[in-house]
Symmetry: C2
Subunit: 340 residues, 2 copies
């Protein structure tokens, strides 16, 4: 039984036209984190180059091996403009499937739906969970698992999991990034959009996403939501229980004092956040430990960031690093994750 989405790769990245090129965050994320799976970029004739990858038409991309066109740019208003539909149709005719992370489904555009059916192509919405996700069973699985958790949403959980995956692989460790959100799924080429799963099946989805593996293997699971978020804590707990992490890494942003858009919800201290996550994670993996903290210091100068990371590491007795500022500090966090 396959309970995860599997995306056809390599990709051709769709970056829209001149008006949208500043919103090509997904395309740039794919270029940065999955360059070996990106053949090139494709956009409206009036649009500028965006990702630095070679620009090409869908037919050429298909000849070079591309299997799907990924919509790598946010759509103003969420509705497909007519010129966009023409581009997507061109991709379908060239032999590519289409992958989208938009809120509205690709198939809700009748012309796309009809053409895809006629040509036998797939329209894949990565916000739509796969069918037949099982209920969680709580059984301990083989292999090692790390989950990034956060004091809030949108605080670096995906980035941290990706950076740790890359760092483990650089040490010749067998490691997989396990994606739980739309951009992560496109980067990984597979995954489950965990917050779109029916509530009863969230832990089961996390179990399906990180199956039994060889004992030296690491799954690095992208966290979602936060136990401290008044809207999404249930998603985070289901993922925490189902992922059964051996290691958690707490993600936080310097200077963020309250939940985004919720000034009445102050964020916890790092100590409180670590303690609560460990207390709850022990239910499905009594051996869980916190390896350290991933701190987003992008608002600080290098000097200030280095000083802060050193001070926090001392205070917590745990490595505290900013994965964007690679180097010895981050490598200490990586080593702490691997410690038996």
């Amino acid at each position: 039984m396959i309970a995860t989405l599997e995306l056809p790769r390599p990709y051709l990245l769709f970056v829209g036209g001149a008006a949208e090129s500043a919103y090509a965050k997904t395309a740039c994320g794919l270029r940065d984190w999955a360059p070996e799976h990106c053949i090139g970029e494709f956009g409206l004739a009036d649009g500028p180059a965006v990702t630095g990858l070679p620009r090409m038409q869908p037919a050429e991309a298909h000849r070079r091996g591309a299997r799907s066109l990924v919509i790598g740019v946010a759509i103003p208003g969420g509705v497909l403009a007519e010129e966009w539909v023409a581009c997507l149709l061109e991709a379908l005719h060239a032999g590519l499937d289409i992958v989208s992370g938009m809120h509205s489904r690709l198939a809700s555009t009748p012309l796309l739906k009809r053409t895809a059916e006629q040509l036998g192509r797939r329209l894949i919405d990565v916000r739509t969970p796969p069918a037949r996700i099982p209920v969680g069973n709580g059984r301990k699985r083989s292999g090692m698992r790390l989950l990034t958790v956060g004091t809030d949403c949108a605080i670096g959980k995906k980035y941290t999991a990706l950076a740790l995956t890359r760092a483990l692989r650089a040490r010749a460790i067998d490691a997989d990034f396990r994606a739980t959100g739309q951009t992560g799924i496109m980067i990984a080429g597979s995954g489950i959009p965990i917050d779109a799963v029916v509530a009863d099946f969230v832990a089961g989805a996390a179990e399906a996403l990180t199956p039994d593996a060889p004992s030296g293997h690491w799954d690095l699971v992208e966290g979602q939501g936060s136990l401290f978020h008044p809207s999404y804590a249930g998603v985070s707990l289901g993922l925490l229980h189902g992922a059964q992490p051996d290691v958690i890494v707490l993600c936080h942003e310097v200077g963020r004092l309250h939940v985004i858009d919720h000034p009445e919800y102050p964020l916890p201290t790092l100590e409180e956040a670590i303690a609560l996550h460990l207390a709850l994670a022990r239910r499905t993996n009594p051996a869980v430990r916190c390896a350290g903290v991933s701190l987003n210091t992008s608002k600080l100068s290098t000097t200030d960031a280095d000083a802060l990371l050193a001070a926090q590491s001392d205070r917590l007795g745990l490595p505290c690093a900013d994965p964007i500022r690679a180097g010895a500090v981050f490598e200490r966090l990586v080593s702490a994750c691997l410690q038996a």
Copy 2:
């Protein structure tokens, strides 16, 4: 915006035939907890009387005011037998909508779907959440809220919330039972099947279920799952955060030592369960308190049950009662819920 299911009442209760009458748990629950909304029962000609309510055909029930036929009996194999379909068609023709808590949707039986459409009747599956459930906003709402929580699933959370609602009303307190599961929704006539909601919207569903209310009003919210269940804890946490209870009552069954069907997951002590629920509930309602424990003592003699309840009350310093054994002990728990 209405984000809860609303069922047409009063009901006619469908109890099936001779083979199924032992499985009429839902029909008996409706008779016990919503007698004022039950006109009578209806079953196959060969079947025995089940609920003690007057037996009648759909046409007569409709004349007496019934607005829907509720499937009040479990279906062997979950598939509608042909004789059953004939009964449901008769109800549709008599002017009744149909309400079902089955896993398979009513509309998946083509003849039912077609007939309901032709006659303008509704086929209502209470396992299907209503559309347009909002994301939680974490805003504090007016009025009082009580949530029943449990050390495990299927341990008395619905029964306890219903018994407390009845007890509060007996004290002339304005109180509503708020249903989160299929049987509860049929009893209340409205509600949201919280475990069938998409994970991101669970807290929002709980907020929609228990809206602002006058300051003397109590919502008694049916708990779902358990924070200690490896499959369903996320549902329970989303409900806990969204319901923002002022009071929790912990439900447990004497002698249950581990999660049902999960012998490797021991249940927590009552103290541990209370402490974890309060710690997490404080995130959206810092004033939350535990009023006491609802203990299912059905496997004990009256003498043993009374002794155990007294001992547990002393030990915890909280009223500990079995709502099935009404009386002074249970009334102490009710009073503790109301204490300012």
